[in-house]
């Protein structure tokens, strides 16, 4: 049986079952959520063996019916979402015990996972929008889950900005529907390719601008990033890890890739699509610069991580944007492939190390009660496991050689230079060092140095909390050293899915 509908049905069923059973059984969340996430994580890993699959809902063939599609790119995201979701749920079991209303927490968590899985497997623009709203609304509530003044303010800000993005997206989808008469992504792509010969008519250009803005806001690219530095630190740590680790990627970057590469057909169409590629590169550069500079000055550990997310998403977008530009201007396919591969690789790595860093911030807050870097220090002596894993993630994200972050940044930079954007590459290299600077600050203030008063009383966190940290730390090293495996089975199918936009049409419409 085709497992694609299960990716939405299992978390959705768990999300409704948890509060229902929770009326009588207080532990329903702690039992059902890890169980369903474990099933999903295993399912998503098995998906690697056959990434390309289509499921027609009710047997209705598109463009009439709704299709669920998974290809290399979807599989990459499915693995990231479900595995990180499982680890975050494991971490939550202990960490969230200080909060009340836990059945609601687990229900919202599962709802968010259902929304993200839906976005990733949806083959239909409007369904993508609906699932995006499901995931976003669950995440608004989760950001405000602590219901303190700060959390509520951050949640409200996120809600307003997220809604603006949603309106833009709906407007864009409506425009596309008006022009092409279809909502199925493959069918829209075929219409654009056949009717307009890949030429962008003004309405499609407008819709593209709306998509770039709307999905860009979800991905926290710089002109639209204002919600992120508030929302990510305010959320409970496992939710921060989900938000920074997978939400901004599945709702933002994945959607941008899907819409511009597979629907708009950058590369197969006329050169006008280059304007979107230029937009991506511009936003990416801004993100790298602003995210990097603002991160240096932060003393709140989670806030620093949040700004760092903006910068790293910039690198991901830079790789993808350069690839798009090379494709749209008719450059060498190998360079475009390299750039896109670099972007996707960095995204995959960022999922691992940023989730790890946010979970470690949760562990530190759990043990010491603070996330103010001025009050921390010498964690290495009191919490060796947390400190060691955090150190691995920090080295990896800063791009220190044998770790995975180095290789992905290297690939992006090489591709950028090969594509002829030397100036952009130089900026990216300089800000790679800025990343190193603020992670050295993290090391200095938190991990090493003299043991501070708060840390003195701290004990290592329970095993349920550090096991996810260890697994993610292994991933940080493993993705770099075992690149041949990760690359061939996960990343290259994803790259091919983006490079050959026409194959997507074939896959869905047959």
């Amino acid at each position: 049986m085709n497992p694609l509908p299960l990716y939405v049905a299992i978390p959705l069923g768990a999300a409704f079952l948890i509060p229902l059973l929770g009326v009588w059984w207080k532990k329903s969340g702690e039992t059902l959520a890890p169980l369903s996430m474990l099933i999903l994580a295993v399912m998503s890993m098995l998906q690697v063996s056959r990434p390309a699959a289509v499921y027609y809902m009710g047997g209705w063939v598109p463009p009439v019916g709704i299709a669920l599609v998974s290809d290399g790119l979807s599989t990459l995201l499915l693995i990231a979402i479900n595995v990180i979701g499982f680890l975050c749920i494991l971490f939550s079991l202990k960490y969230m015990q200080t909060y009340t209303g836990l059945t609601k927490y687990y229900a919202l968590f599962m709802l968010m996972v259902a929304g993200m899985n839906g976005v990733v497997v949806s083959g239909d623009l409007f369904n993508l929008y609906v699932f995006l709203e499901v995931a976003s609304i669950a995440s608004y509530a989760l950001v405000a889950f602590g219901v303190g003044a700060e959390e509520l303010e951050a949640g409200f800000k996120y809600l307003i900005l997220g809604s603006v993005a949603s309106v833009m997206l709906l407007f864009g989808i409506g425009t596309v529907y008006a022009v092409t008469g279809s909502l199925n992504m493959a069918d829209v792509a075929r219409e654009i390719a056949m009717r307009f010969g890949g030429e962008m008519n003004p309405a499609l250009l407008l819709a593209g601008a709306f998509f770039l803005m709307g999905f860009g806001l979800k991905a926290a690219l710089v002109p639209f990033h204002a919600w992120l530095p508030d929302a990510h630190p305010s959320a409970p740590a496992p939710i921060s890890a989900m938000l920074s680790g997978v939400v901004i990627k599945s709702l933002g970057i994945y959607a941008i890739c899907r819409v511009f590469f597979n629907v708009y057909g950058i590369g197969t169409g006329a050169g006008e699509a280059v304007i979107f590629a230029n937009g991506m590169i511009a936003f990416a550069l801004l993100s790298i610069i602003v995210g990097g500079l603002l991160a240096i000055g932060q003393w709140d550990y989670k806030r620093l991580l949040a700004y760092s997310s903006i910068g790293q998403v910039g690198y991901v977008m830079l790789g993808i944007g350069v690839g798009a530009r090379v494709l749209a201007t008719g450059g060498q396919l190998s360079i475009a492939g390299l750039a896109i591969l670099g972007g996707l690789f960095h995204m995959f790595n960022h999922v691992a190390f940023k989730s790890l860093l946010f979970l470690s911030s949760g562990a530190i807050q759990y043990a010491t009660g603070t996330r103010d870097m001025k009050q921390l220090g010498g964690l290495r002596e009191k919490m060796p496991v947390t400190a060691f894993t955090t150190n691995m993630a920090a080295l990896s994200i800063a791009g220190v050689p044998p770790f995975s972050g180095f290789w992905s940044k290297l690939v992006i930079l090489v591709a950028t230079i090969k594509a002829g954007h030397t100036a952009i590459a130089i900026v990216a290299i300089v800000f790679a060092f800025v990343t190193l600077v603020y992670y050295i600050k993290v090391q200095r203030e938190i991990l090493f140095g003299s043991v501070s008063k708060l840390v003195e009383k701290a004990k290592e966190v329970p095993a349920l909390m550090y096991v996810p940290l260890i697994l993610l730390a292994i991933a940080c090293v493993g993705f770099g050293l075992l690149y041949p495996m990760v690359g061939v089975y996960i990343l290259e199918p994803a790259r091919d899915a983006l490079m050959n936009g026409a194959e997507y049409i074939q896959l869905v419409l047959g």
Binding site: A9, G13, L20, G58
Partner: protein, 151 residues
């Protein structure tokens, strides 16, 4: 005295039954006439919200206890999902596992009626819960917030 004046309470008690019946009508005939689960659910929720406005939250919760509302809220959604999943596994989504529709018959049009009922439970109870949340969590006065800020 809790709630509003005697006039309002009396009229409310008189009207509430009709509102619920009308809501149920909208739900049950949603597949034949304009209406449906969402609209009917909102109308049913209005009856309980009216009770809460007129009599205060204690009376409203005695009519529809919070626990029951929570069960209906999650249960309605779960039933909706199960019906959908039934459609997926059997392969007849939209195709009416319960027999094809007949014009002007109440028990026709297959899955739409059960789906309407499920969504009505969901909408009615969750709107009631949203309103009760607004009633329970009073807004803190501006003065208290300023004092907190200064302290």
């Amino acid at each position: 005295m809790k709630g509003m004046t005697v006039i309002v309470k009396t009229i409310t008690d008189f009207v509430v039954g009709f509102i619920v019946v009308f809501g149920a009508y909208i739900v049950l005939y949603g597949h034949l006439t304009p209406g449906g689960g969402f609209a009917g659910g909102v109308i049913i929720a209005c009856a309980f919200i009216l009770t809460m406005l007129a009599h205060g939250k204690d009376v409203a919760f005695s009519k529809l206890p919070e626990k029951v509302a929570h069960v209906a809220d999650s249960g309605g959604a779960l039933v909706f999902l199960l019906i959908g999943w039934f459609g997926v596994t059997v392969g007849f989504f939209f195709m009416n596992t319960f027999g094809r529709g007949e014009v002007f018959r109440l028990l026709s049009s297959g899955m739409i009626l059960p789906l309407n009922i499920a969504i009505a439970f969901k909408v009615a109870s969750s709107l009631f819960l949203v309103f009760s949340a607004l009633a329970i969590f009073r807004r803190r006065s501006f003065r208290a917030m300023i004092e907190d800020e200064l302290a």
